[in-house]
């Protein structure tokens, strides 16, 4: 089925076409979202949101890029929004816990790392995720799309609406920053042990 056939089908609320779209793209969406949020539940929720968004705004899709690129764009935007909201929530929680601690009402301790999630079971993985999360949004997006999704520079330029040179520079800076952060984190970690 071509992109155009999929678009027409979605516009007509054709259920088999919608099913085809979900089957074809759900893995791509869940995986991309997971690399941003590092949690499979959240990634799946985001994938649901992305699919609904595709159905609702398919009319705005311009055939200048492929459907896959457009879906990547939506996924990246939704994931970045989610991470931003989560950061704000964490800040509020930290702020609240600071006050609670001051009042002596709380004895909250940091949650231990859960071993339920097979993707989140080592300290190194945690350090790596934290380092990637702390990158500026543009660098993080370029890095995830290139390293995890193995997209070409050309595809990344389309998803991020940037020039080839900008993407190259972003990736270069992302690697340098990540290198620095990982070295600091690994040094601290190895000193602790």
């Amino acid at each position: 089925m071509t992109d155009q056939e999929i678009i027409t089908g979605i516009l007509n609320h054709d259920k088999p076409v919608i099913q085809f779209l979900v089957r074809k793209y759900h893995k791509q969406v869940i995986k991309t979202a997971f690399h941003f949020v590092h949690d499979m539940d959240d990634a799946e929720d985001l994938a649901q949101d992305v699919c609904v968004e595709i159905l609702e705004s398919i009319g705005q899709f311009k055939s200048t890029s492929s459907l896959s690129t457009w879906i990547y764009k939506i996924t990246v935007n939704k994931s970045l929004n989610f991470v931003r909201k989560n950061k704000r929530k964490q800040l509020v929680q930290q702020f609240e816990s600071l006050f609670l601690k001051k009042d002596g009402k709380s004895n909250t301790t940091q949650e231990p790392l859960s071993n339920d999630n097979p993707y989140e079971n080592t300290e190194t993985k945690k350090i790596l995720d934290t380092a990637i999360n702390s990158l500026p949004e543009n660098q993080k997006t370029a890095f995830i799309l290139n390293k995890y999704e193995e997209l070409s520079y050309r595809e990344i330029t389309e998803i991020m609406n940037l020039s080839l040179a900008s993407v190259e520079s972003l990736l270069q800076r992302a690697k340098q920053n990540l290198q620095k952060k990982l070295i600091t984190q690994f040094s601290e970690y190895s000193n602790k042990r």
């Binding site: 893995k27 997971f34 790596l128 690697k175 990982l182």
Partner: protein, 149 residues
């Protein structure tokens, strides 16, 4: 002489085996001699291996089904909201029209009643006029009526 800083600056390229051979050999030598750089490179390699692993993560079973359910739910909701437009706008409009029609019917019937009432009043006035013409006292009305029968 290679130092720790050079290793740190080229860590990604070293781990991804993208360094020129001469530089790689120099770094290899330093890493072999420096325990700190050795540890960092080891951790870095673990991190890169984990990144590789994460490339092949798979969604959980039935993720596709759950997404389809959410979409169907959303489509149903959209239909419901279209229906709710009917409920929110058309239903009150129809109700108001119904009330207006009822009122109109009420007025129509009311005005008919008013006509009948005015006719009766006119009849009373007529009877009163006849009675006064006849100079008949008011109490004779009933007798007159009987007489007519």
């Amino acid at each position: 002489m290679t130092n720790c800083r050079e290793v740190h600056e080229n860590l990604f390229a070293y781990a991804e085996k993208k360094l020129p051979t001469a530089l790689k050999l120099q770094l290899d030598k330093h890493i072999g001699e420096c325990p700190e750089c050795n540890r960092i490179v080891a951790y870095f390699n673990i991190a890169l291996a984990q990144m590789e692993e994460q490339k092949s993560i798979e969604p959980r079973p039935f993720a596709e089904t759950r997404i389809m359910q959410r979409i169907e739910f959303r489509l149903e909701e959209r239909q419901k909201s279209a229906r709710s437009v009917f409920v929110r706008i058309l239903q009150p409009a129809l109700l108001s029209a119904g009330v207006a029609i009822s009122l109109a019917i009420g007025f129509y019937i009311g005005s008919d009643f008013a006509d009948t009432h005015s006719q009766l009043t006119q009849n009373d006035e007529h009877i009163e006029a006849v009675r006064s013409d006849l100079n008949a006292p008011e109490f004779m009305t009933d007798d007159l009526f009987h007489f007519t029968e």
